[in-house]
Amino acid sequence: MKITVRFFARFGELLGNTREIEAREGISVIDLVKEAASGNKAGFDTIFDEEGAFRDFVIVMRNKKRIRTQDAGSIPVGEGDEIAVFPPVAGG
């Protein structure tokens, strides 16, 4: 199934803004994002920590609704879903 992953701001600069992923049935949100980010180590490391969990400031949305990143390993992605990954920015 084809899933769209969108990366915002710095994540998008490192990984590309939109990635179309051909994903297996039942893949979880976190595994899908890992697959989408796997091509760029700097990008991957900006989003995930050493244990492979989402860094605690990362915001993840599924079909424009925010999901708790702690739950991303147990939330499956479905055909046609759009996952968006976004870093809040701190400058002023």
Partner: protein, 233 residues
């Protein structure tokens, strides 16, 4: 002013807004609030003007380099509008000062560049029951939302853990763009008009030319606000 009517302009004139920071966001925010006619502006910063600020901190000019930002900001805002009161405070916003700096304010504009201090502003807004107009910027990216204590998620519900400090430079236009969203929010709030960015986080990607918004929800386990505050009137 015809746009707001006499009554609207009086609302603005009667208001006191605290602007936290006189840097990239604080510059356009304070200048537009001044010319809008917000009666009292309190602006705080503890820094000096540096040459590297001048691409975005439009309160300052080349000849201001080395001067205290608060002093220059006070002069410039008063020049822009002699009919308002400007209180420019040369101070660090921290646990000891946040309460006195925000005491008289009807609203707080977040023009800071770090999240730990933003969380102090968030707590001050919650304690006082006044809105916090949040903005954050980096490069050609920015975000903004309006926090209404008791009615919307607080800043800590939305961004519970601080993102890393910015190491990338901010484009001047980004400060201008997000700053104008913040000023628009302040204006609507004071005039009781329009729809605020309440419970909505606006994301701007200048490079892609896209604006998105995401609905944000109150975190029942929020460290800052969970169950502690009543709605503002």
């Amino acid at each position: 002013m015809m746009l707001f009517g006499k009554e609207g302009q009086e609302h603005l004139q009667d208001a006191t807004i605290f602007i936290a920071g006189a840097g990239g966001l604080g510059s356009p925010v304070s200048m537009y609030l001044a010319v809008l006619g917000v009666g009292t502006l309190i602006i705080a910063d503890n820094d000096r003007v540096d040459q590297t600020n001048l691409n975005r901190q439009i309160l300052y000019r080349d000849q201001d380099i080395g001067r205290r930002k608060a002093a220059v900001a006070g002069e410039r805002l008063q020049e822009l509008n002699p009919d308002i009161t400007v209180r420019a405070v040369d101070a660090t916003i921290d646990q000891n000062t946040v309460s006195s700096l925000t005491r008289d304010a009807d609203g707080i504009v977040d023009a800071l560049d770090d999240f730990p201090t933003r969380y102090l502003l968030n707590s001050a807004a919650l304690e006082r029951g006044i809105p916090l107009f949040h903005g954050g910027i980096s490069g050609f990216f920015g975000q903004a939302t309006t926090i209404l204590p008791g009615k919307t998620p607080c800043l800590r519900c939305i961004i519970p853990r601080p993102p890393p400090a910015e190491v990338f430079p901010v484009a001047g236009v980004t400060a201008g763009f997000i700053g104008m969203i913040q000023v628009t929010e302040v204006c609507k709030y004071l005039l009781c008009r329009g729809d605020l960015l309440a419970g909505r986080l606006l994301l701007w990607d200048g490079m892609q030319g896209r604006i998105e918004e995401i609905p944000v929800e109150t975190d029942p386990d929020c460290e800052a606000c969970a169950g502690k505050y009543t709605a503002i009137s």
